[in-house]
């Protein structure tokens, strides 16, 4: 049972997706686990063949319990044999990064390819934002057909957020945030700047794009943060019992609000390597899945830094709380029309306030200020994003 957060002690195995004899590849989703954060898909981090399932469906086991034995790798899946803190980081932080993005994409599609579904069903499921793999099929050989997707879509509406238990999620947030405020000496910095260039870049890009190809400001904010922390490694990594461990990879966690209360901040892997359109597609997918309760174990376990953006309907600035074991969180307020001095005259401008909460055990305000300045520079020169 992998630790899907520093405060997780146990999880319930809801469903096995692989069985003894099945070949598995790194990145395949092998099981669904119910935790305080909702139903999470557990990925495997090794290649091999499933030899034996050690935990039955419906069984609740402590973090660290082996879930299955995989032949050909010599390790127990999901055991996370290490203590919870370390197990919370199945990230190959030191993994060879260059090939990471294409490989990951391939693994994800491998996982999905095994689902039997008609093209029409897949299309409709994609439009409705439903994972076709979770729909019970009634077609030939159990394949999912269009009618199954229609039914699942109706059911999803009648039974909102089947995958999310909001009271459990609230407990998970409470545990993580209380620990953060107890253990992490936060310091805060705030910086306001004119966001005209970023706005203009989006308008220019979006004109002429079909709706699904367009960008939102949020994608630029996340990309600017990912590129900025690249040069400020003390803000990207994990605080562990023996001190700070910087992460080579940059997996930006995106704080996503759930209507009616609740919050999750899963990662977009290798954020710094994604183009803006790729990042936008990933963000859209992630927001949709989080709100339906369908994110994956690696996404929830391994953000290296988090971005919290208030979007268009928020307030000027936020002072965010760091998600342990991370060491920094970047907040973006709502861009507001404000009087601004441009060429010695006052003019109305969309003013964006970016904030940083940093862990004073790891970094200091001077470097934090430089980090926020770097984010501003990147957003003022969107060609670099």
């Amino acid at each position: 049972m992998p630790s899907l957060g520093a405060d997780m002690e146990a999880g319930t195995l809801v469903e096995w997706l692989k069985w003894p004899g099945d070949q598995v590849r790194r990145g395949d989703i092998v099981a669904v686990v119910e935790t305080e954060k909702g139903a999470i898909e557990v990925e495997i981090f090794e290649d091999g063949t499933v030899e034996e399932l050690l935990v039955a469906e419906g069984q609740k086991v402590p973090v660290g319990t082996p879930l299955a034995r995989i032949a050909g790798v010599g390790v127990d899946v999901g055991a996370g044999a290490a203590p919870p803190q370390a197990a919370a980081l199945p990230v190959p932080a030191a993994a060879p990064a260059p090939a990471a993005t294409p490989v990951k994409a391939a693994e994800v599609s491998t996982g999905k390819k095994r689902v039997r579904a008609s093209p029409a069903a897949r299309r409709l499921a994609a439009e409705r934002g439903i994972d076709v793999g979770f729909i019970q099929g009634s077609g030939p050989g159990g394949a999912t057909v269009r009618a199954d997707v229609e039914r699942a879509s109706r059911q999803a509406r009648e039974k909102p957020r089947a995958g999310i238990d909001l009271s459990q999620m609230r407990r998970a947030i409470a545990a993580a945030m209380a620990r953060s405020k107890r253990e992490i000496p936060h310091y805060y910095l705030s910086h306001s700047f004119d966001a005209t260039a970023a706005r203009a870049a989006i308008e220019k890009f979006n004109a002429g794009q079909p709706p699904e190809g367009r960008l939102l400001l949020g994608a630029l904010l996340v990309k600017a943060t990912a590129l900025a922390v690249h040069d400020f490694p003390e803000f990207n990594g994990f605080f562990e019992p023996d001190g700070f461990r910087p992460s080579e990879a940059i997996h930006v966690g995106i704080a996503i609000a759930i209507r009616g209360g609740g919050l999750a901040a899963p990662a977009i892997h290798d954020t710094d390597r994604l183009s803006l359109p790729e990042l936008m597609v990933r963000m859209r997918d992630l927001v949709g899945r989080v709100r339906r309760g369908g994110f994956r174990s690696s996404e929830i376990a391994d953000p290296t830094v988090t971005v919290s953006s208030l979007g268009e309907r928020g307030v000027e600035a936020l002072l965010p709380v760091i998600y342990p074991p991370q060491v920094a969180i970047i907040g973006f307020g709502t861009p507001l029309e404000r009087p601004w001095v441009v060429d010695s005259a006052v003019a109305p401008r969309p003013v964006l306030t970016v904030t940083l909460a940093g862990d004073h055990r790891v970094s200091d305000g001077h470097r934090g200020a430089l980090l926020l300045r770097r984010i501003e520079e990147l957003l003022n020169d969107p060609e670099r994003l």
Binding site: S153, P160, G218, G311
Partner: protein, 80 residues
Amino acid sequence: MTREELRAAIIEEIGNIAPEADTARTGDDADLREALDLDSMDIFNLVIALSKRLGVDIPDADAGRLVTLRGAVDYLARLT
């Protein structure tokens, strides 16, 4: 497509994006973002869904027209 059909289509697509949103009690002039707690990603998804469903081109600059039910019906009625 009649105005009633357009209205029903919009409500159905909002339901697909935000299944927990109570569209039945949303007034035609209410700001959907405020009334149903829709964010920019939700409006983005609504523009995509309505463009596909109705086969119309909704420029990015016009997304703001979709933030009330009446505004959206007026706008889409002219396009369809």
